[in-house]
Assembly symmetry: C2
Homo-oligomer: 347 residues x 2
């Protein structure tokens, strides 16, 4: 079995030196046309691929990746992203990657600004961030572009072409999937309720898109379907009571779609609704429990842990391996979680 071709071999075969071959590989000029073409030819014939290990060792750079994400506690939505990041920290440690974490509070934009400034001060080579604070993020990205800071975006479906990679899940299609599942549970259904439980002062575009998707699925059916969107803030003290009223006021109700991760907040209003199909979002611990107890039927999983890990992986490949992704957008598949699938979603 022949050994893998190296620069040295190519130098020998082309009657040049490794310096010249190296210049050809990196397009660094200062090579005669005849030598260049000859070397390129030989490389192609031997199917030469640079040895990644030697390459990285010679470069011997330690890359610093900043991760900018909302502060969270265990069991909360953002914490699942953090879990993916934590795994990547140990996985990439021996590969010359240092990951710096920068937290901020979603309801205090000042903390976002402070953290994001620190990202620059610490001289990171790239930053991974979550496009949740739309306005602040756009300003931050502008700054990244000015300062030539590489960045990757996670959890959004609106992509930025300058990002190394955009990783997100299609919210519109998620809404369609929820509709499909609810419809499959009772093909004769005609009355649906969509819950938009929003955080005070925080307009979430993705949730809007999900609701649009949900509607679009039923709009394609032949019969007339009645879909009511009920919007309420999660800070509302009478959340459960108001929802109970809403549900009881519609005795013909066939299905409920909770368009974000807040299913667990309305649990008490959903008990004893066996005849209604219920689909929620995100496999938080509390949501999974509702699934396990049969109170809801499905959860749509956004794979946050995997998204975060993948984000780091792409930045690593870009920084260390010089690999640019074929496409700068990764559409994370919608994942359907039912009771019988719960075993795969242990914390």
């Amino acid at each position: 079995m022949k050994a893998k071709p190296t620069i040295k071999l190519i130098a020998k075969l082309s009657n040049t030196s490794i310096g010249t071959v190296d210049r050809v590989i990196h397009n660094r000029g200062d090579v005669s046309q005849i030598n260049r073409e000859n070397i390129e030819q030989i490389m192609k014939e031997l199917d030469y691929v640079p040895n990644t290990f030697a390459r990285s060792l010679a470069l011997n750079k330690i890359f610093k990746i900043a991760v900018l994400l909302p502060k969270s506690k265990k069991g909360e939505y953002w914490n699942y992203y953090l879990m993916g990041i934590k795994k990547s920290i140990s996985d990439f440690k021996s590969l010359g990657i240092i990951i710096n974490l920068y937290f901020y509070h979603l309801d205090k934009t000042i903390t976002f600004n402070k953290s994001s400034n620190q990202v620059f001060k610490d001289e990171n080579d790239a930053v991974l961030l979550f496009t949740i604070l739309t306005y602040e993020t756009s300003i931050f990205l502008k700054k990244c572009k000015e300062k030539k800071m590489h960045f990757a975006l996670i959890g959004s479906h609106e992509k930025d072409n300058d990002a190394i990679i955009n990783i997100g899940q299609d919210p519109y299609q998620g809404g369609r999937l929820a509709a499909e599942l609810i419809n499959y549970g009772n093909k004769k259904g005609e009355n649906y309720l969509v819950l938009n439980i929003l955080k005070l002062g925080n307009l979430n575009l993705r949730v809007i898109n999900r609701i649009e998707g949900f509607k679009s699925f039923f709009a394609e059916r032949s019969k007339a379907i009645n879909i009511e969107v009920f919007t309420i803030t999660q800070e509302d003290d009478n959340l459960v009571d108001k929802l109970k009223n809403k549900i009881n006021s519609n005795p013909k109700l066939n299905g409920i779609f909770i368009a974000n991760s807040k299913t667990y907040m309305v649990k008490d209003a959903l008990l004893d609704k066996n005849d209604i199909q219920i689909v929620g979002y995100d496999t938080l611990k509390k949501n999974k429990e509702l699934l396990n107890r049969g109170i809801i039927d499905f959860l749509i999983h956004q794979q946050p842990t995997e998204q975060a890990y993948q984000g780091i992986e792409f930045l690593y490949r870009f920084l260390v391996m010089n690999e640019t992704p074929l496409t700068n957008f990764i559409d994370i598949p919608l994942d359907i979680v039912s009771k019988e699938k719960l075993m795969y979603y242990k914390e």
Copy 2:
């Protein structure tokens, strides 16, 4: 920002040389107790992790991984595994991994024996294989153990403790999931048909397990459920007619579970069965089309491409990085595919 600790640094701090530090790292003995403890202490304090690049470069080994799998054409089940392997070939090329493919024909066990012998002759460092020919595989694995050939198993749920990694999906749980989906589609259903379309002379244990799982789900319900298992060989010329008769003879039929990838073979018997829930296995191109046309409701996806890729990745980590997996069994999550999810399963 302090640089990453190296062997050299540790040698300096412990007043020894890199040789001694190296011996401590690799437990190669020949180190005085006092030095060993001191060096271990310093490594712990500095949180030392060996530089993977330098390590692999110094070892400078090219590992050969054999992949033993059934010959297949595009669109066939086994071809999806091959796709994952092909991706890994290019991904791991620059990391010192050569992947050799060995094909065999499922219905000619002689070809398996021939190919598997070749695996040894070519002096591979490890082999990845699919536990489909139960008897031949067990003989081959015995030989692997004798000759100290590392191996990884894919696509099975029966694990071998000596394997570097076992990757598979739980067929029993898959059957339960199929039952759950069918049940959700019509909670009042009581009559179900399970199709076991087997290859002549090829007893597939996994399919049996799926059927057991399917039954177990309904056995837990309070009411009496009627489940008929219809077994037929795929070579049967009257396959479709026999199935049509079977379906028509049971006017109360509520759901059908096709327990393997052969859903597309019985397509003609399934047309115009809108009131029956139908769940099949595996996202072959022809099966996906049935999903798209609304003829069936769900497919359970085994993620063959991902399984194959992961198998190579584990072997790589084991061979090159000396990493032993925390657990030698990876339970691939069951993936539910519906019409609205089809976009994620492009070929």
